[in-house]
């Protein structure tokens, strides 16, 4: 039985929470609203909250002037591509550690976690030179590869925590029935593993979409994903707030939506299963 909460208390907390939430969300709301303003209205002072003249021209300009969707496409290839390749490597590893743990499994997991501790900047020089020599600079192949590598430990960990929750007894039962290993995987394990795999994939897409060290350093005009494309607005000429906002709105929209739907999985993945 929950205690009865006084209406006064309910309303106080409600108002307080909404005020804080709106302050935190304001920069995003402001970006979205500015995207629909004219450049002139975007820098009105005092600022106009709602666009005085709603317009879509910014979205059009961003596309016609800088081929926006090329960069959007690059972001999609890098984030989805690295997630799929990552799964191919991480699923077997996590499966193996969850269902056939060896003495050193815990050590291997901790070691994988520790690889995330290596600062990217520590290996910037060799990676840059290797990329340069192999012709991988500013290519989608190179960026997808890097993204797979940096997120691999998180993927293995997250899948491991999901797989470990699959009841082993079921496997034992199917083994008694004489199911061969591949059947065991396809018919028994996979259906139970799919939610975990999907969550892992979503988290990885979010992380890869927003990654802004390697993408900024290893890409230029061709393979630049949205993170790097938006960075080109840091030193622009003339009026540009509305266009920056339009480009930003399109860049953050898909991930915001994915993020909203996968809050729970995010907690689990980002904390290596320590908080569920």
């Amino acid at each position: 039985m929950a205690r009865a909460i006084s209406p006064q208390k309910k309303w106080t907390f409600t108002i307080l929470a909404w005020v804080v939430a709106l302050i935190l969300f304001f920069p995003i709301l402001w970006t979205i609203l500015t995207a629909f303003k004219t450049e002139g209205d975007a820098i009105l002072f005092p600022p106009a909250f709602l666009p005085p003249h709603w317009t879509l021209e910014n979205f059009v300009t961003v596309q016609t002037r800088s081929d926006y969707f090329k960069h959007f496409f690059n972001s999609m290839v890098i984030s989805i591509g690295s997630s799929l390749i990552g799964l191919v490597i991480a699923v077997p590893a996590a499966w193996s550690m969850a269902f056939a743990p060896a003495k050193r499994t815990k050590d291997i997991l901790m070691w994988m976690l520790s690889t995330k501790m290596m600062p990217a900047v520590g290996v910037l020089v060799p990676i840059y030179l290797i990329f340069k020599n192999l012709g991988l600079l500013d290519t989608l192949t190179g960026l997808t590869g890097i993204m797979t590598l940096i997120n691999l430990p998180i993927m293995v960990w997250m899948l491991y925590t999901y797989f470990r929750e699959i009841p082993v007894d079921i496997l034992e039962a199917s083994r008694m029935d004489g199911a061969v290993l591949w059947k065991e995987i396809v018919y028994v394990l996979l259906p139970m593993a799919i939610p975990g795999i999907a969550s892992t994939m979503l988290l990885n897409i979010i992380l890869a979409w927003n990654e802004a060290f390697w993408t900024l350093n290893l890409s230029a005009a061709n393979a630049a994903p949205l993170t790097a494309f938006i960075a080109s607005y840091s030193s622009p000429e003339g009026l540009f707030w509305a266009k920056l906002s339009a480009a930003s709105t399109l860049a953050i929209a898909p991930i915001l939506v994915i993020g909203w739907f996968s809050q729970k999985q995010l907690v689990r993945g980002m904390t290596f299963g320590a908080v569920k």
Partner: protein, 291 residues
């Protein structure tokens, strides 16, 4: 599980690719960085090559820019950790109460975490912090103050603010999730025994949160030690080195000064510093993960 020999072999075969790939990824670039760090290697002066001994390290470590970058890195990391953990606990406590429209409030609060760093930084730099047209300038004039050029006058503080905005939602979400897993009956019982809100928090909620707080600190530290994009698109490390952290300093030496040797020495220093932090943190979290 009674694993047969075959299962064992198969399990190892399935684990191997991930381990080998990660091992190569960790060890090869690191060895190259160490190798370069002892070489004279500047892309602008190709005639000057060969073994450099510890010269690169000497230059990097005695450069006043290094000290400034070192302190800036620490300042950014610690400030953001304090803001997000304390703020996250407070916000978590608030969102854990009965609230009308809780689902929407929650979505609004966590949204900043999903914004890519370059967008977050540029939106703050221009539309919020601009001294002529920004929202902060407008608020300042409404309150009767002169508008502040945030990024020019308080560059490090501004960057801390931007980064804290991105990470506060993360801390809040993790801590709120942990609070919600706290047994409601336990709280009820304590409440009936006459425990007030403060003692309830100190003796029941906080110990329960210990593990979640450790994890938040670990994850955030990994990212905060190498804040990069936010600096690149706002201040460019300046004015002077006022907002340069170690990650940005090394980037500057490598890709703007073409000093491969010097940047590599910096890279090795960064790895050593991160490892000192990591040994400490992984132990702390390792304990918590096994518990």
């Amino acid at each position: 599980m009674a694993a047969t020999v075959n299962t064992r072999k198969l399990a190892r075969a399935m684990l191997t690719p991930a381990v080998v790939i990660l091992f190569i990824w960790m060890i090869v670039p690191l060895l190259l960085t160490i190798w370069y760090s002892f070489q004279n290697y500047n892309l602008l002066s190709p005639e000057n090559t060969g073994f450099a001994g510890f010269m690169n390290y000497k230059y990097f470590l005695t450069d006043p820019a290094f000290f400034q970058a070192f302190w800036n890195t620490l300042t950014i990391t610690l400030s953001v950790l304090v803001i997000t953990v304390v703020g996250g606990i407070l916000l978590g406590l608030l969102l854990d109460q009965f609230i009308y429209g809780q689902g929407i409030v929650r979505i609004l609060v966590i949204s900043p975490f999903f914004i890519m760093p370059t967008v977050a930084a540029l939106v703050w730099k221009n539309m919020l912090m601009d001294p002529n047209y920004g929202i902060f300038a407008w608020i300042a004039t409404r309150l009767g103050f002169a508008p502040v050029a945030w990024l020019e006058n308080y560059p490090l503080f501004s960057i801390i603010l931007i980064v804290a905005w991105q990470w506060l939602p993360f801390a809040t979400l993790i801590l709120l999730t942990a609070m919600q897993s706290l047994d409601e009956e336990q709280k009820e019982a304590a409440g009936m025994d006459g425990a007030n809100f403060a003692s309830l928090f100190v003796y029941i909620t906080l110990p329960h949160l210990a593990r979640a707080i450790t994890v938040v600190i670990l994850i955030e530290t990994i990212f905060l030690l190498s804040v990069f994009a936010e600096i690149l698109v706002t201040t460019g490390g300046g004015p002077g080195y006022a907002s340069t952290n170690i990650a940005y300093l090394i980037y500057h030496q490598a890709l703007l000064d073409y000093d491969v040797g010097g940047a590599s020495a910096g890279g090795v220093v960064a790895v050593i510093l991160a490892n000192i932090v990591a040994i400490f943190l992984v132990r702390l979290v390792g304990k918590n993960l096994e518990a």
